[in-house]
């Protein structure tokens, strides 16, 4: 492990932790503007997290240790994922420990513990949310894997830094398969991050909420960690999407500090644009009935498989 690699690893993790709540705040701001409302401040998620950390935690009677450790596990899994995803640089010593499939596994780990903790308390909402979350998850995961496999097939490796390196430094050519995979990935991200066509992040209406139903019982620092982890998840998904489909501006190995800073500026620009697009998608679409979710995610799976097949047919 070189020193510069270690430094870039640490810097990337720090930037991910710092930027994730701002990204959520930015998306909320854009949504408010598009809906012609006065927008909440950009740093509101930060203030919420600080407020929650200062409060005393209340844990439901009869909660098992799973309920208590889940926020830490979820937060830890999202931090690991943020360290693996090459958002700033591809020279990440930690990323060699885990490839794209392990990354999906990390997300799955967080999801399973979230669902277990939601069912642990034994309230109706918790188990309802947990069931719905697993329902969405088992449909979204194969599609996500297929998207990552398509990128792996093009670059010949499942290691994320290698994929991004190959995609960033390829000859300029039209890849229909990447376009399909990009659309599929967007759909999966919307579903996985509890965004509007599948779930509404702003609602506390009993019949429609999925993610919110699972975390109803959490308070104080536990809730803060879960909220932060949700923000990190959105950040991670955005960074995976940006790294795979718009890899311009990611610092190559041995670029030094200036390259990292340049990459950080470009990343913020790309995230701002991506967040705005997310807000546009959320504003333009209506929330689906939950039974339409299989169709939505089935389409994502179909697109991802088509991407892989078209890549095999046309790319050889």
């Amino acid at each position: 492990m070189t020193l510069s690699g270690f430094a870039s690893q640490l810097l990337q993790l720090a930037i991910a932790l710092a930027l994730a709540p701002i990204l959520v705040g930015w998306v909320n701001q854009c949504r408010a503007w598009l809906a012609n409302k006065s927008a909440p401040p950009l740093l509101l998620p930060y203030r919420t997290i600080r407020k929650l950390f200062a409060k005393d935690a209340v844990v439901a009677e009869g909660a098992s240790p799973i309920f208590r450790v889940t926020p830490y596990i979820v937060f830890g899994a999202m931090c690991c994922a943020a360290a693996i995803v090459p958002s700033l640089a591809t020279d990440l010593p930690f990323a060699r420990a885990a490839d794209a499939i392990a990354l999906v596994g990390l997300f799955a780990l967080a999801r399973v513990f979230g669902a277990l903790a939601a069912m642990d308390i034994g309230t109706a909402f918790g188990s309802l949310g947990a069931r719905r979350e697993m329902f969405i998850g088992f449909l979204a995961e194969p599609a996500l894997l297929m998207v990552l496999f398509t990128a792996s097939l093009i670059s010949g490796s499942t290691s994320l830094p290698t994929i991004v390196d190959t995609l960033a430094h390829r000859e300029l050519a039209i890849y229909p398969s990447l376009a399909f995979a990009g659309v599929a990935f967007t759909m999966v991200s919307l579903a996985e991050n509890a965004r509007i066509p599948v779930d509404n992040p702003a609602t506390h209406l009993e019949l429609t909420m999925i993610h919110e139903a699972m975390i109803l019982e959490y308070s104080a620092r536990h809730l803060a960690l879960i909220e932060w982890a949700a923000a990190l998840k959105l950040f991670n998904y955005s960074c995976i999407g940006l790294a795979l489909f718009f890899p311009i501006g990611i610092a190559a190995a041995g670029g030094g500090a200036t390259a990292m800073l340049g990459a950080a500026v470009i990343l913020i620009g790309k995230l701002a644009l991506g967040g705005f697009l997310l807000a546009v998608i959320e504003t333009l679409s209506a929330k689906m009935r939950i039974f339409r979710a299989p169709e939505f995610l089935g389409t994502a799976f179909l697109l991802a498989v088509l991407a892989m097949l078209v890549n095999q047919l046309l790319g050889s």
């Binding site: 169709e295 089935g298 179909l302 088509l306 097949l309 046309l314």
Partner: protein, 222 residues
């Protein structure tokens, strides 16, 4: 994929779009959107044919592209829209099989046709040979659409979309068919569409519905 000229990449792109549109038609619930998707597929076909004509210097393909544009993008969708208005059939089309299952069957069909096309495209010498698999796949998907739909109008659109796939197959495997054949097919489709339009009115007059399950009975009152 580098080393392929730009026009071939564009053809591949449009081939992929064609396949995507075939899937979109397969899973579309509304008749009106189905007609619009059909027009879009015709447009993609016309553009890709024109690119093949430009890239391989085959001027007769321009005629084919123009004919496709006129028939598939303007005339037939217009006729279909008028038919829908007259018959007042803007209902949702329910398939025989639910949509996720249809998609999965569609994926299996695509894998099958890619495998089927692989040895054939090895024999062809055209730049566009790789897209033969996509052409066969879109024919298969249109077949599937005709099978899984219950109402008469989507079945006819499936039939027309199948013709799109066939034309694309001809373009990708041998740079198009002779002009006479293409004109013949184009007119056939047009006349077929007109006759089917008359049929629709007859069917509806007879059974008060365009559901084809009524046609399965041979005699009245059984």
């Amino acid at each position: 994929m580098s080393g392929i000229p730009l026009y071939a990449q564009l053809i591949n792109l449009f081939a992929a779009i064609l396949l995507l549109l075939a899937f979109a038609m397969l899973t579309q619930r509304r008749v009106l959107s189905l007609v619009n998707l059909f027009a879009a597929q015709g447009f993609a076909l016309a553009v890709s044919t024109a690119i093949v004509a430009f890239g391989t210097h085959q001027p007769h393909l321009y005629w084919s592209a123009g004919l496709t544009l006129l028939l598939k993008v303007v005339l037939l969708p217009w006729l279909l829209h008028r038919l829908i208005d007259r018959l007042d059939v803007k209902w949702d089309v329910e398939g025989l099989i639910n949509i996720p299952t249809t998609m999965l069957i569609g994926i299996v069909l695509v894998v099958f046709s890619f495998n089927l096309a692989y040895p054939i495209s090895q024999l062809a010498s055209t730049v566009t040979r790789a897209t033969l698999g996509i052409a066969i796949a879109s024919v298969m998907l249109s077949f599937l659409m005709m099978i899984t739909r219950r109402k008469a109008l989507p079945q006819v659109i499936g039939f027309l979309a199948m013709e799109n796939g066939l034309l694309f197959a001809a373009t990708s495997a041998t740079y198009g068919m002779p002009m006479v054949v293409e004109l013949g097919i184009g007119l056939d489709v047009l006349v077929g569409m007109l006759i089917l339009g008359v049929f629709f009115f007859q069917i509806r007059e007879q059974f008060d519905s365009l559901d084809l399950k009524h046609l399965e009975k041979l005699r009245e009152g059984e």
